[in-house]
């Protein structure tokens, strides 16, 4: 999905939709918000951007969008340097940053007309049609004529998304896109994201809903205290902490002994559950060995570590605000 002509003009490191090298922001107060960030968002990916509150996600997104000047380091979006190339890059980028911001005294439709008028590339002749299409896409057609101040949080969120979809985009930057939506709305937005991604749009998604990231994202990065803790394919991240073999049994002591004999490491017994790192052999044989040894097995299986566990292991602080 990379624009080859742009790539020729501006050979960047890799062909990522977003590439940062040593990106750093120190605010005037001396606070280091983002510290030497090396982020690579592959073109065509759905990229989850994770981190506790105050970890520097928002500052990073604002630097990528040319709203904040980095203290040092570089950021390239769609192969072009930011913030220098904002006027060339941003028409191809749809963004929802820290929630929607609307003109309460204007209708939903007029809000979109205004944001579209702000884009110098947008064709005024197709403006009304594109606004109507964007409203339809987020399910707001019926409420388009209502003043935005009368909108619920979920409707405002949808309108913010519609603003990001006024044009066909190569990159969507969505900060907490399902915030304030009901479960039905969340599902709609997720399927919308999948639909856009299948059209080849790169989606950069920040969220604190880890199962959401796990459901829609192909890649993810985790930030903590201004630094990048890890990045990569979601499957790899979750697998980074390998799945554990879990045996449920009324005979935990015997089971633990048999598992050790079968080569399982780190065996832990908790009441009727015995967990261990699975040995390098067919698990069917391990199960057979348990049964042969007279261990009554109620449950036998491998539990994959969830992204949430991986996340907590990486940031070590869950979602507490970083101090």
């Amino acid at each position: 999905m990379t624009d080859t002509s742009a790539a020729e003009r501006e050979p960047g490191p890799g062909d990522g939709a977003i590439v940062t090298r040593g990106l750093t922001k120190r605010y005037r107060g001396g606070q280091l918000a983002v510290d030497g960030l090396d982020l690579t968002v592959p073109a065509g990916s759905v990229f989850g951007f994770l981190g506790p509150n105050g970890s520097g996600k928002t500052t990073t997104i604002r630097m990528l969008m040319g709203l904040i000047e980095p203290t040092s380091g570089t950021a390239r979006v769609l192969g072009r340097p930011m913030p220098r190339a904002t006027l060339a890059v941003l028409p191809q980028v749809g963004a929802l940053i820290e929630g929607p911001a609307l003109y309460g005294f204007l209708s939903g439709r007029d809000n979109l007309l205004r944001y579209d008028a702000a884009d110098p590339i947008a064709d005024p002749r197709t403006r009304r049609a594109r606004v109507a299409a964007a409203l339809d896409r987020v399910g707001l057609t019926a409420a388009a004529g209502k003043k935005a101040k009368a909108y619920s949080l979920g409707m405002k969120q949808r309108l913010g998304l519609a603003a990001a979809l006024l044009q066909p985009r190569r990159l969507l930057v969505l900060d907490e896109p399902t915030n304030g939506l009901d479960p039905q709305g969340m599902r709609e937005i997720r399927s919308l994201i999948r639909e856009l991604a299948s059209d080849g749009t790169t989606v950069f998604l920040s969220s604190h809903l880890l199962d959401e990231i796990e459901q829609v994202c192909t890649h993810a990065a985790v930030m903590a205290q201004g630094r990048l803790v890890t990045q990569g394919a979601v499957a790899d991240l979750a697998a980074g902490t390998r799945g554990r073999l879990v045996v449920t049994t009324p005979d935990p002591a015997d089971a633990a002994r048999v598992l050790k004999e079968q080569g399982a490491a780190d065996v832990v017994v908790t009441e009727d559950r015995v967990t261990a790192e699975p040995p390098e052999r067919d698990l069917a044989e391990v199960n057979a060995a348990l049964v042969t040894a007279g261990v009554r097995v109620r449950g036998f299986g491998v539990e994959r570590a969830s992204l949430e566990e991986a996340f907590v292991a990486l940031t070590g602080e869950g979602f507490d605000v970083a101090g």
Binding site: R9, E10, L67, R84, Y115, A117, D119, P120, D123
Partner: protein
């Protein structure tokens, strides 16, 4: 939009890194910009004008301005119901007030003289102060900038809209005054300050010219307000600061001991518009006034640009 909007350096926010990459970006950016038809560049200005006029605040300000000539007109009418002339003809009250009973057209000059020291610049201060700070406070500024409106283009749009408001506000006062004057008082030939007679049509022409000069007199306040607006993320704070500066300047202009600085105060030559009612027109103060306004627009316009194009948008 002006040439300055095409300046590719507009987003060059003082960055020192990657100079060569930056230079390449500038050329490509410039070519992108030049392909954009003028009609599309004007979209934002049209939208901005429409949006400004749809705020109840704007309409309230215009309503107050329209009410001033009505009040003055009615007051003069009641005061002179017995056949006397307002202000006793001794120069009390706003300029030209004593002439209103003879000719309703003078209500236009009186109303402009009454609103120029405070009501008009206050209204302009509110609009200019809110221009950037109000958008920043509401968070809409970040979406305009990622649209991407372009910082220079947005600032020029805001300034052009504020100037359009100056003109509109002045015309509202003038038209309201003309209507009230025509309803309550006779119209006809009028006498200039120099004592010569001019026809009513020429008087109308002078009135229009005066309205334009009054609108131009507000250029300095508009630029000052816009600069203040780039300093804060609170629209209310920016409006209050601008109006506060206006009051301060008006007070300083009244203190004789400070006459050394008086020629540099943006309000000092405001009432020179009355010189357009002389025959022949006395241009000295008018030119000084317009020159001073241009100076304020240049200084504070540049300051606003320097500030806004390098500002971190964190709201």
């Amino acid at each position: 939009m002006s040439r300055a909007d095409l300046d590719p350096a507009q987003e060059g926010t003082g960055g020192t890194a990657q100079e060569s990459a930056g230079r390449t970006a500038r050329t490509t950016q410039e070519s992108t910009e030049q392909r954009i038809p003028l009609a599309r560049r004007g979209s934002l200005l049209l939208n901005e004008l429409r949006t400004t006029l749809r705020r109840w605040r704007t309409l309230a300000l215009l309503g107050v301005l329209a009410a001033v000539p009505v009040l003055v007109g009615i007051a003069v009418r009641i005061e002179t119901g017995d056949g006397g002339s307002a202000g006793g003809g001794t120069g009390e009250g706003p300029a030209f007030i004593s002439q209103i009973t003879n000719n309703g057209l003078f209500l236009v000059f009186t109303a402009l003289a009454a609103t120029l020291p405070f009501f008009l610049p206050m209204a302009v201060g509110v609009i200019a102060g809110d221009a950037i700070a109000g958008e920043a406070g509401a968070g809409t500024l970040r979406y305009l900038l990622v649209a991407p409106a372009g910082r220079t283009r947005l600032l020029l749009t805001k300034y052009a809209t504020t100037m359009a408001f100056c003109l509109l506000a002045t015309l509202v006062v003038a038209v309201s005054a003309l209507t009230v004057g025509a309803l309550l008082f006779p119209l006809g030939e009028l006498t200039t300050i120099s004592g010569t007679r001019i026809s009513f049509t020429e008087g109308l022409g002078r009135a229009l010219l005066i309205a334009l000069v009054v609108a131009a007199s507000l250029t300095g306040v508009a630029a000052l307000g816009l600069f203040v607006s780039t300093l804060t993320n609170s629209g209310i704070a920016a409006m209050a600061t601008t109006v506060g500066l206006l009051i301060t300047v008006q007070i300083l202009d009244q203190i004789p001991q400070l006459d050394a600085i008086h020629p540099y105060l943006f309000s000092h030559h405001w009432l020179s518009f009355a010189d357009l009612m002389r025959e022949p027109v006395y241009w000295d103060d008018l030119v000084k006034n317009l020159g001073l306004q241009a100076l304020y627009a240049a200084v504070f316009g540049s300051a606003a640009w320097a500030r806004f194009t390098t500002k971190d948008i964190t709201t």
